[in-house]
Symmetry: C2
Amino acid sequence: MTAIRSKWGDREARREDILTAARACLAEQGLQALNIRDIARLAQLSPGTVYTYFASKEELYATLYAERLELLLEELRPVCDSAPDVETLFLGIARLYWPMYRLYGRELNVWSGLRRKEQEPTALELRLLNASRNLFGPVFGAALRLSADPALARLYQERAGEVMALCWICLTGLAEHFSGDRPLLHGLSYEDTARLTIRTLMAGLQALAATPVIVES
Amino acid sequence: MTAIRSKWGDREARREDILTAARACLAEQGLQALNIRDIARLAQLSPGTVYTYFASKEELYATLYAERLELLLEELRPVCDSAPDVETLFLGIARLYWPMYRLYGRELNVWSGLRRKEQEPTALELRLLNASRNLFGPVFGAALRLSADPALARLYQERAGEVMALCWICLTGLAEHFSGDRPLLHGLSYEDTARLTIRTLMAGLQALAATPVIVES
DNA sequence: ACCTGAACACCGTTCAAGT
DNA sequence: ACCTGAACACCGTTCAAGT
């Protein structure tokens, strides 16, 4: 981990030290074992001090998560720009998504619990929300650019929400599926399953692109 | 909750009281807030006693989870027997799966953590594994019975593992997707999204049934 | 044998006291 | 102002003592 650089009173650097320490703890032992005393020790300050920088352990964790989402966006850009087809695009995203999901995805509910109903969202909540939203733009743009079939392109535009939800569900389901013991039941690899998933999904969307109404309740 | 019925030394009934109390606590406040002292109070015994019935909180939780999986199988049977087509089958499963996932699904890793490597699986671990496995039979049978297209039926049989993984991923992704705030981003309902998912999946499988090789790395 | 509840270890969080 | 670390509340778990 990066060396401690903060001095007494340098709040900016100290805050960064805490985040760096927390990141290291999380990577090493997972969320379950993440605890303030270890973080404080790694950052070379007292547990009490952590609370002058973050209101709670949850808020500290949510900050890490927001950072990670922002990093994902940076990782995603080159994939979106260079993918030669939608299958490659999805596989690239799936590869980037998995390691993040293993560390953070399971506990999405942690930060959503931060929200107090009927109150203005905090700056942190807005940061999280934006980080999530910002991911869609590049991906959506790339998907649109890569769909040779005009019927498919039209589907993307007219039913963007539904198509994105589908992709998101497959991505999450995939990551979740391979974050436990379940793959042991069939022995498929993450990579192969991701490929199978996107092929099936694309074939399905292609077929549905011909149908005028997709969902009628 | 059911009344306490156990007497001093009636280990069978007492164990059931603990499970009943734990189930009630879980339903009321979620896993996060599940705690031994509350369970003991509800079951009208001391915290220490719980540990003469269950080795740990995790084991108690895993037992509840195994029970819930077994209940799911019972709920699933009539759906599998009566569904007129695959879409209805999937929707029925999705409806049953969601409430279970909200309470238990998030923490699959909890029980998988029970396993000590290179050791014989415990009776509880076997129970969990079997409960999971047993779900596939009826579902698979129904899917096979309902596929009019012989090419699709052949796909099911020859690539059962892959098809099941796909369905499982969609089901989990769907439940996960609707267990947080994410649906707020697009406003679709669980029901509608499940329908869209299975239609797309089926159309995709149908298309792929024509292709000889599905996954080649 | 079965059960109790005080006690221990651990952890999130606070706050009076230090610099 | 910023930081410390003892202290508090809470919780999983144990165990000597009770019945």
